[in-house]
Symmetry: C2
Subunit: 431 residues, 2 copies
């Protein structure tokens, strides 16, 4: 058996530097666990003249990726350079050259995971990407390990730190979205262009990755229904609280007899639900397995050392596979076609906030519309507003299909007594 | 490399039957992951005449353990029979015969882990026991994996389902300990003799196991300070709530420059702390790593399929190790001496509830006693009682040493104005 595994790094930013540090500090434990030594031979950088802290390690620097992808000594490539279109061909070439890949690049995996899977399947190489989803949580490993002895029916979680920070501050400080976003940008918790985070795209990429793995089906980003948090107001947060709920941006992937549904949207969760207590930039993912029941993993979603730790864990797994002769088997090539649910099959509870005329019989008129679609209610709050002729009506439904709710709200929009449909959110975490 | 791994089962109760079921249903995935087939050859039972459901598998039954421990075909022994004094010599003999062990037996590991470690070290065999702590949570694997790239500073969690069920019901329904215990016993959530659970011994065994692994130090059960939940009253639960806290039976293992402290005791946790939302019979463990920060694992603590799933995960790990030639390296033989903290070094926040005379100057008298030991307060509630001459005083301190609090309460006991020291609990989960 091979006694040394040689690694090439693509990228030498904070995560790459963290990987060097951890490998150096934990050499002995890694040798112990894998039965062989792991060394970094070379690293791709964009600027050779920039001074770098290599933590005392003798690592060759290059600005030509071929020096790494074509180096016959190198067994595993760790990709921490980011980017999509520029990076994909480099990794594909590496795979063709029989290199195993460990990557932290969520965008690349979400967009080109299928192409990378296929190439690694063809060349019997490993493709690991634990660090791409919720860096500090071993969620991908847990799902893949779990699959060997269980069947996953649902995954639900907070997988974007920026939006969770914003939702936490909105709830705790009572300030509106724009104010918190500005503050988060000033503190470096949100990017100058926050679109990918606040509109749910980043979370959707992660849910697509988790769904491919957990359900063993191919998913595109387009298969994920996405709604961001821009529309969430203090009114909704306050009403939710009164009903016993908190609002969080939640990714949900469900699989039952009717099919699969994957979404990212602001959801109401009971305050006593463990996900309601996941605050600030933390991530957490619930996994429901038929055998094991519900489990949850909670931790930092990003950061230099959490991400580098996840990369090193993947590297250890790849090294073990190389020595076991089981490379290329762990990436869970989708085995089933995906059967996405249609609007009739998607059943959830909904929170609906309406503004209605303050006239006798209006509540009855509205509940009649809903009743026509078989929608009944768990909780109702009716309350006066600043405008003397207007009332606010907050409804929480029992299970309804997306289609029924769509048709009911369409009918409501045409009614004289309904001044506005302020918000509709999914309710999760109940029985 | 070996193409089939053969397993012998010690015990064929609910967990053993679950193991057979899972291995049968997931044969293909397991072969995929490990690169070889895994089959169960034989099982030890106490009564050969009892009919058994072997899920269609051809498994030989025997009532002589030697048929398994001495069978040259058998590579791995799965011990799910329970028991301590009777079971230890069987496993030691198995290890001498070079069998790898997977066990769900927490009592045995907590009491004789060191002897089993030593034997497996000597014979270069594997010893895995994920199912012994919080069955449905891959906590031991996470700690061992984490150790390859991080350093653990603290573990804190709810590791006993029965007591968590009782504490949850006490808080939610406002009924006292004895009533809930009776109810739990009727429902089968608590045993007829609940001592090991309610007095914290079961949780202490699990914390000892986690501490040995997480800190790589030898611990005895006696090293764990244990206080059960019998003394927790509705008064305490109510005051805690008013202060913004919940009371849970919490295991804490901490490691800093001053040393290590491991304990199991009822603690106050802020309501917004994720552990406060862990209800009913669920378990959850927080792990603080220097690199990764805080992570939490939540799931069922027991049950047939969660436990059997954990056993099968261990089995897969052992099979991989056999094929890698790395058996005997994963059990983390303690590397450091344990340095337990003394009373002066143990610093925690405390919640203290006193009954005092309703006279002028009493509060001042009492705070002076505490001030003499450098104890200051974060929150104070003073309130009248049913008795006209008595008041109730609830104090929450900043960090204090066990020694200072012990001396201060000793002084209070001798004071005329202090009628009773009702309760003292640790406060966790703050900053």
């Amino acid at each position: 058996m091979q006694q040394t595994i040689t690694v090439g790094l693509l990228g030498l930013g904070t995560v790459g530097s963290g990987v060097i540090e951890i490998l150096r500090d934990h050499q002995e434990q890694i040798q112990h666990k894998t039965g062989c030594a792991v060394t970094i031979k070379s690293a791709l950088v964009s600027d050779l003249s920039k001074p770098r802290d290599l933590h005392g390690e003798a690592i060759q620097l290059t600005d030509r990726y071929e020096d790494i992808t074509r180096d016959a000594d190198i067994d595993v490539i760790v990709e921490v350079m980011g980017g999509i279109d520029h990076t994909l061909p480099i990794l594909l070439e590496a795979i063709e050259n029989k290199k195993h890949i460990v990557t932290a690049n969520k965008d690349l995996i979400a967009q080109h995971g299928a192409a990378l899977y296929e190439a690694s399947q063809q060349h019997q190489t490993d493709l690991y990407y634990e660090a791409s989803v919720a860096g500090g949580i071993p969620i991908i490993r847990s799902i893949i390990d779990g699959l060997a002895s269980d069947r996953i029916t649902k995954m639900m979680g907070i997988v974007n730190g920026t939006t969770n920070y914003i939702m936490t501050k909105m709830a705790q400080d009572g300030v509106d979205f724009d104010t918190v976003l500005k503050e988060a940008q000033d503190l470096g918790f949100a990017e100058a262009d926050p679109t990918a985070d606040v509109d749910g795209l980043d979370a959707a990429r992660k849910m697509a990755i988790l769904s491919i793995l957990g359900f063993s089906m191919p998913f595109q980003l387009d298969d994920v229904e996405v709604k961001g948090i821009r529309g969430v107001t203090q009114d909704d947060i306050r009403y939710a609280e009164e009903l016993g709920y908190r609002i969080k941006l939640i990714g949900v992937a469900e699989h039952d007899e009717a099919g699969v549904a994957v979404s990212v949207e602001p959801c109401l969760l009971p305050v006593q639900h463990p996900l309601s207590s996941v605050n600030d930039e933390f991530n957490a993912v619930y996994v429901y397995g038929e055998a094991v029941g519900e489990t949850m993993f909670y931790g930092p979603g990003a950061g230099k050392l959490p991400t580098a730790t996840a990369v090193v864990s993947d590297l250890i797994a790849v090294v073990k596979n190389i020595r076991l002769g089981t490379t290329g088997t762990d990436q869970v090539q989708p085995q089933f076609p995906n059967q996405l649910k249609d609007k009739k099959e998607k059943q959830t509870k909904k929170y609906i906030r309406l503004q209605v005329l303050d006239e006798p019989g209006v509540l009855n008129e509205i509940t009649q519309v809903f009743a026509g679609y078989g929608v009944s209610f768990d909780q109702v709050i009716q309350r006066s507003t600043d405008q003397p002729d207007q009332r606010e009506l907050t409804l929480m439904t029992h299970l309804v299909s997306d289609q029924d709710i769509e048709q009911a709200t369409h009918d409501l929009e045409g009614m004289r007594s309904v001044s506005a449909i302020n918000s509709i959110y999914r309710v999760e975490g109940g029985n």
